[in-house]
Point group: C2
Chain length 615, copies 2
Amino acid sequence: MKFSKTFIPTLREVPADAVIASHRLMFRAGLLRKLANGLFTYLPLGLRSFRKVENIIREEMNAAGALEIKPSVVVPGELWKESGRWDAMGESLLRVKNRTGGEFVVSPTAEEAFTATVRDELSSYKQLPLSLYQINTKYRDEIRPRYGVMRGREFTMKDAYSYHADEESLDETYRVMAKAYRQIFKRCGLTVIPVKADSGAMGGEGSEEFMVESEIGDNTLLLCEAEGCAYAANVEKAACKKDFEPPANLEEAKAAAAATAPLEKIATPDVKTIAALCDFLKTDAKRFIKALIYRAVNVEIDLSQAPGCAALKRTQTSPDAPAVYAEAFFAVCIRGDLDVNEAKLAAALKAGEVMLAADSDVTRLTGAPIGFIGPVGLTGLPVIADESVTALADAATGALEKDVHYLHAAYGRDWTPWMTADLRTVKAGDCCPVCGGALYEKKGNELGHIFKLGYKYTKAMNVRFLDEKGVSQTPVMGCYGIGVDRTLASVIEEHHDDAGIVWPMTIAPFHAVIVPIKYEGTVKDAVDELEEKLVKSGVETLVDDRDERAGVKFNDADLTGIPFRIVVGAKNLSQNPPVVEVKRRGSSDEARLVTLDEAVAEIAGMVSDEILNLE
Amino acid sequence: MKFSKTFIPTLREVPADAVIASHRLMFRAGLLRKLANGLFTYLPLGLRSFRKVENIIREEMNAAGALEIKPSVVVPGELWKESGRWDAMGESLLRVKNRTGGEFVVSPTAEEAFTATVRDELSSYKQLPLSLYQINTKYRDEIRPRYGVMRGREFTMKDAYSYHADEESLDETYRVMAKAYRQIFKRCGLTVIPVKADSGAMGGEGSEEFMVESEIGDNTLLLCEAEGCAYAANVEKAACKKDFEPPANLEEAKAAAAATAPLEKIATPDVKTIAALCDFLKTDAKRFIKALIYRAVNVEIDLSQAPGCAALKRTQTSPDAPAVYAEAFFAVCIRGDLDVNEAKLAAALKAGEVMLAADSDVTRLTGAPIGFIGPVGLTGLPVIADESVTALADAATGALEKDVHYLHAAYGRDWTPWMTADLRTVKAGDCCPVCGGALYEKKGNELGHIFKLGYKYTKAMNVRFLDEKGVSQTPVMGCYGIGVDRTLASVIEEHHDDAGIVWPMTIAPFHAVIVPIKYEGTVKDAVDELEEKLVKSGVETLVDDRDERAGVKFNDADLTGIPFRIVVGAKNLSQNPPVVEVKRRGSSDEARLVTLDEAVAEIAGMVSDEILNLE
């Protein structure tokens, strides 16, 4: 392909809104242009690399036994109502009304479309397991799209969904997918951090996120620094080794409280912070119970026996959706030096979302002013204890009166929670739950996610099959997603230098670029012949035939990051034998002179070696 | 690929709403399922054929020098306002409002997105010509989607747009595209009817539609039955050889009128139809002037000098859109035996749409009752004459009074029109405008369209470049579309029989299907080895390994239309040498016995021969 016949508008300037390397380089190297905020056009060079990522994903999905299908991108809102996501999804769901008033969704994911298709075709266990996937356009109405395609509104996602007669079969496919995902990222030349997490919906290991480290990552990861320990978790789910010993049960807690002095009220006028309070009370934040009032929406957990919740009613937004409490309030108690993790709290409550309650709600529900909440005597709402406070047999805490605190509050004696859970935000320096080593933090971007979905969609959408005994059953489901655009951008994040992109061979838009010093006469003839031979040997080749200074062409070759640069000049061609100059982009090695005769075989060999090395 | 490892849910029943063969067979052969009205899911077998159509289009576009890019599917409404299509497009345009109130379009075509991208990058004539294309999802909010993917709401289209420094360059690319389109359809095994038409926007031959004959076609085509004459036209633009001699000018018309008796009023009580009137007046429909009142909307033609139009004002809906009259009325005169073609009328008026006026408007504008309109004395609105009535020096026509007609109305003497045009609907039996042969009608579906767009978008969106002299110019544009889904469905329409699909080799989802009588023991071993060898020889092979009766497998092989069926049975394998039975789907030849040793080379040879034959 001749440079003059394609369309590679490289730029010297950096787009003003481009903060990260991939965003800058995708624009500068002529891979991408912006149509609007969060909406982009891949130009020819960018599309070549994009298709390579797609094809690696396609090959690995096919090898994993998944079958490619193509549902429409715009799908009926009806299906989303069946699954319950029409209501559950917020404003990031792009909803459309057509001319006849029909409601549609521009798909952000496709659990509904796939499950509806399977529902209509499934009759017998013999058809299972069934893994289907698509690589297709998705839309998420990001409120703040940025970082180029790293967080765009429209994007391409590979999403696979598997259906199984039983959980063992799901486990097997999940393991195959976990392996396929590692292989996909390896072939793309990406270093990913697989982050395991309990999915909640299924027992055991039910979810794994594939993260890349990124300064602008929207996930905080906790990793273990101990050698040989691969513990990695999203902060939303990260656990740590406990630095306390909770009592085994309430009896043990009461026994521990026997030695505690009686509960005592103490005036604490004008003491504003926990630190100041600890100073004043001559105690330590680790012996203080912090209580926070949270508002939770769409709560699925049963509250019929919970304090203060008798008047609450669970309702269904659609016949197949689970019944939920639209709103409920909770007092969450945690040790003074720790922070509540809202994701963990939402998971414990099976809530759509949790947030700190408004001051007016706090006062209404506790009868106490802000800043003096504590679990002792709190009856107006359910108290949820982080495990850390169940270990406190002698703690300070708010006394539900202005400027008053309790001393010697003992868990099991002076107060008992409605529920106990791990709600703590794990931080750098906490100890690894696997090996006890120190944890450290990284920012990460999620490229892929595999997930044992369980029965959520198959139940809500009433998918059935007959098992071996002829009994009607609901299949269990897994889902497996990868963002194609984000994967491509992450390859550039990991592989670039000051001069431009340094593509891994597998994703490079071309394997080699031939740079004639001047594209004319014998140089032109040699270049055309070399191009033809390289292409015949499977080397995707770009010829920079522009009438530009060599320096401009070298800069663009570096910027676009094509792995092999072959410089052809009249002087080198007049050697006996004639030679060309070959340089590997990103290598610190100098350019080498290779004879024209040997260049093709040598480069073709290196190209296929590098591709094989990533497999 | 083993049948049991893929997902090919064939059906005995025909879907109730499937009227045409491709719709029926795409469902029955397990290629497609419906998600909602006009929205479909391609299943694995259907997607394989779909991708083959895509790839043929891609290869031919690349060979034609077009470059593939990928803009987003959802594009900013802003761009559509710039081009004027936000207002001009009716309700078939799917508009979306996002969470922040931004307006977007789910692209039905992409003139705006491509032109915006080119606008930002174009500076010099050296960058031209530039041809860009995409193969991407499109949406048209069809009011009555039907016939499966033949008229769906969401579909995939290849749309290319070319930009040129001058019209000669556009002509050249247009010719290359015209050739590429013929090649695409040939490779798909399709018989297309290229229908040329003057595009209006550009001089000369500016538009060609590629039609396939179809009982449910939404286009009426007129074709010449004379051998060697390739005249084919859409009825919207079809011309015919005139069966009359219009006067060269008004002088000649007046001279012809000298011999005509004076204009005479005649009472015609209770005569309702033109036929009855002709009987009553002892004349012939060919000597009668029929006058019809039309309402036109968004009229671009200048009416400042037109009768009755002094009060009309042209306005712009957006700064770059052409100024139009929102509404105007016209009297159209045509010979009594002919019909007005509304598409031709709209083109002559540069109107968005034309329709017969309401009775109340007719009476208001002509002062005459319905049924008695004629051009003589008609002053309240512009009169437009079809050429056929300018040849009438002695005609009957309405006299603008109830139950009264004129006799001896002479063009040029008793009335003159404001404008003359070819407005006639050409019908079967009319004479070919090229060779005079008889025309016949066919119903056709449009698969592709190539079109010299001219300056419409580049002017409206202010695209500029500097020419060789450094002068700023507007590039001229061409566009070239093909519907992928419709092309695929048309292949099935043309290639099927009572038993199912009969794929051309180029589009077949698999080249060969191996049907073991029973997939076990030595048969299984032979089948697996045969599959492996076929795949190695480039023959895409499906193995029907299901535990089903041979009859069921044969029926499915016929239904899915895979070109070669290879039956492997224990008895034939025990021959010396062992043989298998090979049958070409759709051929009337009996199945042949081929030795197992020779089968691979023979089938591989036939597959590649058939593919080459279509190139």
